[in-house]
């Protein structure tokens, strides 16, 4: 007998539909699987055979052939265990094939026939919705992940036996109620709480202001300062001042985490902007994604959030080089022999670095590093990455922080976020119909069009250009940052004050370039 069950397999961060065809017919007993199964999929037959045996169903002494269609795409992951088992049961006429119509099955089988969690449930449920399927059956622990997708009933099951009963119309139907979760509501609840809040940061006005401007205009941001100056503390709080994730963004990010197997019953969906903080010893592959079992790298896990590189100067040159393409294209292409995967990677880059080997430059009472040592130290960051960073702020050392003491309470993240949201609204209007969304993304022509200076500011900028020996690139960066400062200020025309602050936030090309 022959049966067809629908399932899916991941490709990049999407899933594609897989038709699992099973044929059970007379011949020498055997179990064959064709249709480009990956390593884990090939092992499915053992898991399926034992799981069925353990719920009292023996495979018939017949020839079983499983075909995974389309046969020209490699299928990875363990989610095909369940559809294969279901297909065999249908082909054995244990369950009616009629009952399987319009359902997408996903799940890994344990030897005791329990369903184990799998990666990529969210993109699969989205796929089901796109294909007009009405129901998805997934492991119970993955059900919440899929339940945020409207219009598809996602049913979580614990055990294959349970499923057979359900499909046969036996057992308690109440146990198989579809779960529905309102993403909108979740996001709304999430937006009021944040684990890390700027209210906890005393002092550090420079870093805070720099972070605010950077977040408002999507400028990449660098913090320079001695160890223990609170750079990490600031970086961790940047997601809290970015506008909250929208529904579309939340699904987009959650899909990446789903494929990577980073969603769980406790965190079935990503509601916060990601914050990734890889150690400087990270491999290039872990950063970019790919590998033999291709999965998204850290830069994609930072999508729509913040990628924070602490001790940036210690990252390998190759690792830093990897960031270049995604910072331009907002995605990363990973080529492997069996295909090219595109993972989204639209992140705000936040770097923290010591200014020199000892960390105290320009405090010459403490720092004995020579200019050559300082240059060499920063040189790893030079070039492609520094070119894309618009704002740099020096962090004060811990000792100075004691100076702060008392004072008024620090502003909380929500208030800062309100200002940033307004500035982003202005940018949204400005760039409507354009290919860019933020000030930081303006090219030279757009800078000229949108960075309108007051007459006095023109003179001021001219003087800065001469007095500071700016490069053309440095000049443009200042204008872009000044544009964002003016947006935060609610001003259409850029004035001296906006320029002066932008100049103060520039990267000293002569020292760190």
């Amino acid at each position: 007998m022959y049966s067809v069950v629908l399932s899916s397999a991941p490709y990049g961060i999407e899933s594609f539909l897989v038709r699992v065809e099973v044929d059970v017919s007379s011949g020498l007993p055997g179990f064959d699987m064709v249709g480009m199964p990956g390593g884990e999929v090939k092992e499915a037959k053992e898991r399926v055979r034992v799981a069925l045996k353990n719920i009292g169903i023996a495979l018939p002494p017949q020839k079983i052939t499983v075909n995974l269609s389309p046969a020209n795409l490699r299928k990875k992951g363990t989610a095909l265990d369940l559809p294969i088992a279901v297909g065999i049961l249908a082909a054995m006429e244990e369950i009616e094939e009629e009952k399987l119509r319009g359902i997408l099955f996903l799940g890994e089988l344990g030897l005791n026939a329990n369903l184990e969690s799998v990666n990529g449930v969210l993109p699969s449920v989205i796929l089901a919705k796109d294909k007009g399927l009405k129901k998805c059956i997934v492991p119970a622990c993955n059900a919440k992940e899929g339940a945020v997708v409207d219009g598809v009933d996602v049913i979580g099951i614990e055990n294959l036996k349970e499923l057979i009963d359900y499909l046969k119309g036996e057992g308690n139907p109440g146990d198989f109620k579809a779960l529905h979760i309102s993403l909108k509501k979740l996001l709304k609840e999430e937006s009021v709480k944040s684990e890390y809040d700027f209210a906890d940061v005393k002092g550090q006005e420079g870093l805070k202001r720099g972070a605010e401007i950077a977040a408002a205009g999507f400028h990449h941001f660098m913090m320079i300062g001695p160890p223990g100056a609170g750079k990490t503390m600031i970086a961790k709080r940047i997601p809290s001042i970015l506008p909250p994730l929208g529904e579309r963004e939340s699904l987009e990010v959650s899909k990446i985490y789903s494929i990577s197997g980073l969603l769980s019953d406790e965190r079935p969906i990503i509601l916060k902007r990601p914050f990734c903080n890889p150690h400087h010893t990270i491999t290039e592959q872990a950063l970019s994604g790919g590998g033999n079992h291709p999965k998204p790298g850290v830069i994609s896990l930072s999508h729509r959030g913040v990628l924070f590189l602490d001790e940036a100067a210690h990252f390998s040159k190759a690792a830093i080089e990897i960031l270049r393409q995604p910072m331009e294209d907002k995605k990363i292409e990973v080529s492997r022999t069996y295909g090219t995967f595109i993972y989204p990677a639209d992140f705000m880059l936040v770097l923290a670095t010591n200014p020199c080997p000892c960390g105290y430059y320009p405090d010459r009472n403490k720092c004995r590093c020579s200019p050559a040592e300082i240059k060499r130290y920063m040189s790893k960051l030079s070039g492609p990455i520094m070119d894309r960073i618009d704002i740099s702020v020096t962090a004060q050392s811990m000792k100075l922080k004691e100076l702060e003491g008392g004072g008024p309470p620090s502003e909380d993240s929500a208030s800062i976020r309100r200002r940033i949201s307004l500035a982003r609204e202005i940018q949204k209007k400005r760039f409507r119909g354009k290919e860019i969304d933020f000030n930081a993304q303006m090219n030279a022509k757009e800078v000229e069009e949108y960075c309108i200076l007051e007459p006095a500011a023109k003179t001021y900028m001219q003087r800065a250009y001469e007095a500071l020996g700016l490069s053309a690139r440095g000049y443009h960066k200042i204008l872009k940052v000044a544009r964002t400062i003016a947006d935060l200020d609610g001003k259409e025309i850029i004035d001296n004050r906006h320029l002066a602050e932008a100049i103060g936030l520039r990267i000293r090309e002569d020292i760190y370039g």
């Binding site: 420079g206 010459r364 004995r368 702020v393 100076l403 007095a467 002066a500 100049i503 103060g504």
Partner: protein
């Protein structure tokens, strides 16, 4: 051939050989009475020469003397070409027994037997001050090096140093920019510019002063050669001025050598909390002169030399230097700034800028500190407001910023 030239050719020929230093060569010379007699006497079998050399175990020296014996004219001609090759590159050579050899150097223990130089050697009739200090100096050190280099040069004092980055190079550049002369003593051949970042100083010093070395042209810079080089820096001077030095640093070694040579030593005092001033403060404690201003140095030199200002600018330079601005000067500075401040009444802008300039130092200070100080003067600025003010000052060339650290210029 001119006898002096012949002597110099032979001196250069033998000095180039490793192991032929002042000790051996001066012994040979004192015994033989001339360079030529060392060579000829050796060929004749004059007693003493072979024995002295053998004691020092250099087969190369023996080989050289032998090759002279085989063909004296040919040898001299060949070695003349060597010197002429140097001259073609502007490199001069002199040795211990020539008149050109610096007299000051003769008084030190273990002087170099020969000196290669570009440009000139220091004038014997005008004072020489060696200014030395840390390579990784502070802003304060840099300002002091500038002040002393410039002010002393204006009085015709020749400044000697090692052309290193930091104090050395800064004082020498200041001397040149004041129209004075400076001499750089290198730990490499005179044709090797080290550090290469100081190339413009190297070139200018060769034209307004000189570049000196006891090592033959082409010798690469090696840190093991620096202590020996330092004895020459000290040895060329009438007075050694230490601007910034850590305790037990390279600078400190030079000072010890200068003490051995009986040179007068002055040190610029520093703050007791600054590691970079440990050495100087210790020197003062041990009895070095206190270089409280350039005049202190000039006074010390006064007894031995007649000093005349190249320009009459000395008093002014000294004043403008280490934080001794007069009120009138500050007023003058401020009116210029105040004029451009927009949206402020002239009076309040003036007061703010005055407070701002008082809040800055020569060493970079973080903005948090500047904010505190301004607040002490009654100006409560936000961080952003201060940043804007400081940017204004930077554009006017009155301040410089490195990250959020600012200093006055």
């Amino acid at each position: 051939m001119d006898r002096d030239l012949e002597e110099r050719i032979l001196a250069a020929a033998i000095y180039e050989i490793n192991g032929a230093g002042w000790k051996l060569l001066s012994e040979l010379y004192e015994d033989a009475g001339s360079m030529k007699e060392i060579f000829e006497g050796f060929a004749r079998g004059r007693t003493g020469i072979r024995e002295k050399i053998r004691g020092r175990g250099s087969s190369e020296i023996l080989a050289l003397l032998n090759s002279y014996g085989k063909n004296p004219e040919g040898f001299t001609e060949e070695k003349k070409n060597l010197l002429e090759g140097y001259e073609a590159k502007g490199i001069h050579f002199t040795y211990y027994y020539e008149n050109a050899y610096p007299k000051r150097l003769k008084s030190i223990p273990g002087p170099p037997f020969g000196i290669y130089y570009l440009g000139k050697l220091p004038d014997e009739d005008r004072p020489v001050v060696s200014i030395i200090g840390a390579r990784d100096c502070s802003e304060y050190g840099r300002r002091c090096a500038e002040l002393f280099g410039k002010s002393l040069a204006e009085y015709g004092v020749q400044i000697v140093s090692g052309m290193a980055r930091g104090i050395d190079g800064t004082s020498q550049k200041a001397a040149l920019s004041a129209g004075g002369e400076t001499y750089a003593v290198l730990g490499s051949g005179v044709d090797v510019c080290y550090p290469s970042a100081n190339r413009s100083l190297y070139e200018e010093a060769a034209n307004h002063g000189g570049i000196l070395s006891e090592y033959k042209p082409g010798t690469e810079a090696k840190s093991t050669l620096f202590p020996a080089r330092n004895r020459i820096i000290a040895g060329l001077s009438d007075l050694l001025l230490v601007v910034e030095a850590r305790h037990r640093s390279g600078t400190y070694i030079t000072v010890c050598q200068a003490l051995e040579q009986g040179r007068e030593i002055f040190a610029v005092p520093g703050r007791i909390t600054d590691g970079l001033s440990d050495g100087c403060n210790q020197l003062i404690k041990d009895g070095a002169g206190i270089a409280s201003d350039p005049k202190a140095i000039l006074d010390a030199l006064m007894g031995r030399f007649e000093l005349q200002s190249l320009s009459s600018g000395f008093a002014k330079t000294a004043e403008a230097g280490v934080g001794k601005r007069t009120e009138t000067q500050e007023e003058a500075n401020l009116t210029g700034v105040a004029k451009k401040a927009e949206g402020c009444t002239a009076g309040s802008a003036n007061a703010l800028l005055s407070a701002l300039l008082r809040s800055l130092e020569e060493t970079p200070q973080p903005m948090e500190v500047i904010l505190k100080r301004l607040s002490g003067f009654g100006f409560d600025l936000s961080y952003t407001e201060l940043l804007c003010e400081l940017t204004d000052l930077c554009l006017l060339g009155k301040a410089e910023g490195i990250g959020n650290y600012y200093r006055k210029t």
